[in-house]
Homo-oligomer: 197 residues x 2
DNA sequence: TTTTGCGTTAACAAAAATGTCAAACATTAA
DNA sequence: TTAATGTTTGACATTTTTGTTAACGCAAAA
């Protein structure tokens, strides 16, 4: 047990380091050498465990996808009332965003290079369920009427964009790190107020 | 005159092709060879006109920045009433987004690799002016009260995110190209309704 | 103790991408 | 026409990055 924890699983270490560099720092064209250095291991171990650089990229991509789906599942299949589901989503999202602000951008750039989703069915079934709830909430008059897909886009956009585009936004708004952190911290409330009447 | 137009300015051609590949197709790690092929010119001409690959990247980055600032200027210094300024912004943005959906993501990835803004002062003065207008509009009760910066974030997020993250969103929402196009077309109205009471 | 197998390493090989250069070419000015 | 200048090209050199292999070390099993 204690041995397990002290002794590092190299394969896992490499993967986590890659995630840190990609999702965490947004350095998408990091070389295998840079990843190995950051992990403190010999570069060829990346080949040993992952065969090729591209394979590592694919695996990390799938991990990201799994993570996204998992968050969605946690929310949609919980038995919380709608309003609280959204709140929970925001909590989970901003928590993950601290560690991995560039997760979404990474996925987009990967997809523009040929990667693609593996399992759209699970996601689709979840979405259908969620769209129903959204429609219901519109009936109740709690949120503005629009296509549920648009509400979905609003939700994701309002939360994700300020985080994933931070370098661009922060610089073009001429803000310090601290000032932007405050802005992000206030975001949850702003998003809620914007989405709900 | 007509010769000027038929005869292609190679330097410009290369730059435009690079933009098309980066901002238009999101292929951020395109090689100089790929760019040259797409432009139909000899690869070494990239070195001739731009000295190095990295220099081309920097120049294209600055162009993107200039374009962003120019759009902001057009809006903020126009004498339209607030509501119409926002509408105009949406029009301009979605127009540019058709050609260059990945402009923002490109900038972020570049900035994560060391590029940075050159002229934050111009932008800052524009923003201050715009923040005042936003605050005024809140006083009038036309938009919900919040920090003007947050309104700004809302505006950009709601418009830009669905466009720049399209590959991820479209696939995870299981939509066809056509269906997603419709969604984007409806966006202007949705954003307006979301921002204004 | 020897053997087996996994993880690790360095040295090497191969590939991919960038950059340089001199010669060829075209265009315009003298 | 010739000279001069700027543009384009292919051949070559260099650099960067990736992938392979054989040997080494070490721990657990025989």
């Amino acid at each position: 047990m204690s041995i397990q924890e002290i002794d590092i699983d190299t394969e896992e270490l490499i993967k986590e380091t890659a995630k840190k560099i990609f999702f965490g720092e947004g350095r998408f064209k990091a070389t295998t050498q840079e990843i190995a250095d950051a992990a403190g291991v010999n570069r060829t171990l990346i080949n040993y465990y992952f065969r090729s650089r591209n394979n590592l990229f694919e695996i990390v991509f799938e991990d990201a996808q799994t993570k996204e789906i998992s968050i969605a599942e946690q929310i949609i299949f919980s038995d919380l009332p709608f309003h609280q589901k959204i709140e929970k989503y925001l909590d989970l999202f901003f928590e993950q965003a601290k560690k991995y602000p560039y997760l979404e951008i990474y996925m987009v750039t990967q997809m523009n290079q040929g990667s693609c989703f593996k399992d759209p069915d699970t996601m689709n079934r979840m979405l259908d369920k969620f769209y129903l709830e959204i429609a219901l909430e519109m009936e109740k008059g709690n949120i503005a009427k629009m296509r549920p897909e648009q509400f979905m886009l609003n939700l994701i956009s309002l939360t994700s964009f300020p985080v994933s585009m931070r370098p661009l936004l922060q610089e073009s708004m001429g803000m310090s790190n601290e000032a932007y952190d405050v802005l992000v911290d206030e975001r949850k409330k702003v998003v809620m107020d914007t989405l709900f009447k």
